[in-house]
Amino acid sequence: MRQTASRLNRTWLTIIGALLLLAGVAGLLLSTGQAAPLLGATGLGWTPPASDRRLFGGATASALGLTWVVLLITLVAVVVGLLGLLWLLAQIPRANAAKPLRLHDDARTGLTRVEADVLTRAVEAQVERLPGVSNASAVLRGSAEHPDLTLRVTADDRTDVPRLLERLHHEVAADVGDALDTRLHRLGVQVEISADKSSAGQITV
């Protein structure tokens, strides 16, 4: 139902993972003294620091004394922090519901707008009246011409699921289409089964 940042997460996890792996392998090669023979064999012409040299020498200390270097580090830190914050905010699951649907969008003849949640509340109430259904939530996405309806329906474990889908398809989706005066572009249904056991149609002797 709600959408998460799957592609974003996977892309950045892969990039950061690859960078960390490369940095770790480089650190291992430098630390064990294997970097010099490897680089010598490739003929890149760069000699890595010897393994007995200090990590940061005088050059690093003097560079950190320069104001422009500190400014550059500040800028990089702010960018990294902002990227981290944006990535963190992207983890919040979002419904991404449709903006108010414009049923008539010609200003000369009159504008008609309908809020998506007005429709979804009606849909939820209709679905919750179906046999076996204990809870329903709906999200309407897309536009008035191409509406996408996604439903999450919780039913009990004795519900006839194929029959429930039939009714959602032929009654609920049809009613939404009628309300918007169009054909529903897409109907998505996620079925959940409630943890409570149904006692409907059951007798204990």
Binding site: G17, L21, G24, L28, S31, V80, R186, V191
Partner: protein, 190 residues
């Protein structure tokens, strides 16, 4: 790092790796904020804060062959591999496709049932079988595993009836593909 997902996507999805992404995002945010605070303090006062100079001197005094650097490199390799696996491994689906009605009045349909719901359906069906005292179920999209408890000695018969009943029930529900059902039976001591 923005999202462009203001449209419907398939309901049957793989894990979105929210936990590792949240941890790395928090680390990046903390790293950026702490570094910015330290460098802004350096720009404002003209000297590095004492909380930084001590650790920086210690790190600066390390040699490339030091065990601390070796440990840090190993940690970076392990973390890198973990993040790479999290980013590249698809992971299992959390739901199964359901057969359902297509065509008018809808152009496209997408019906799914969550793995937890499949397990509850299976447990509910198994609970109807005579002889079953207690049942628990788990489902992963391809298999449904039932753990049955019975006070009867006819364990093989009960298992067969439960497996047959649950398989028929899940097939009739329209799961695509229909999961393989297996059951283990534990006899309750009387």
């Amino acid at each position: 790092m923005s999202r462009t997902d203001a449209r419907s996507r398939r309901l049957r999805r793989r894990p979105s790796r929210t936990v590792p992404a949240t941890i790395v995002a928090v680390v990046l945010l903390a790293l950026g904020v702490l570094t910015a605070v330290v460098t802004i303090s350096r720009l404002a006062t003209g000297s590095w804060p004492t909380q930084v100079t001590g650790p920086a001197t210690t790190v600066g005094a390390l040699t490339w062959a030091s065990s601390a650097l070796l440990t840090a490199a190993v940690v970076a390799v392990v973390l890198g591999l973990v993040l790479l696996v999290a980013g590249l491994k698809p992971g299992g689906y959390r739901s199964t496709v359901l057969h359902g009605p297509v065509g008018d009045p809808v152009e496209q349909t997408d019906y799914v049932i969550s793995n937890a719901a499949v397990a509850r359906l299976a447990a509910g069906q198994a609970d109807l079988v005579d002889g079953v005292d207690k049942v628990s179920a788990s489902a992963d999209g391809r298999r449904v595993r039932l753990q049955l408890t019975t006070s009867s000695r006819q364990t093989a018969e009960i298992r067969d009836r439960v497996v047959r009943g649950v398989t028929e029930s899940l097939t009739a529900t329209g799961l695509d593909p229909a999961p393989r059902v297996s059951a283990t039976v534990r006899t309750k001591d009387l």
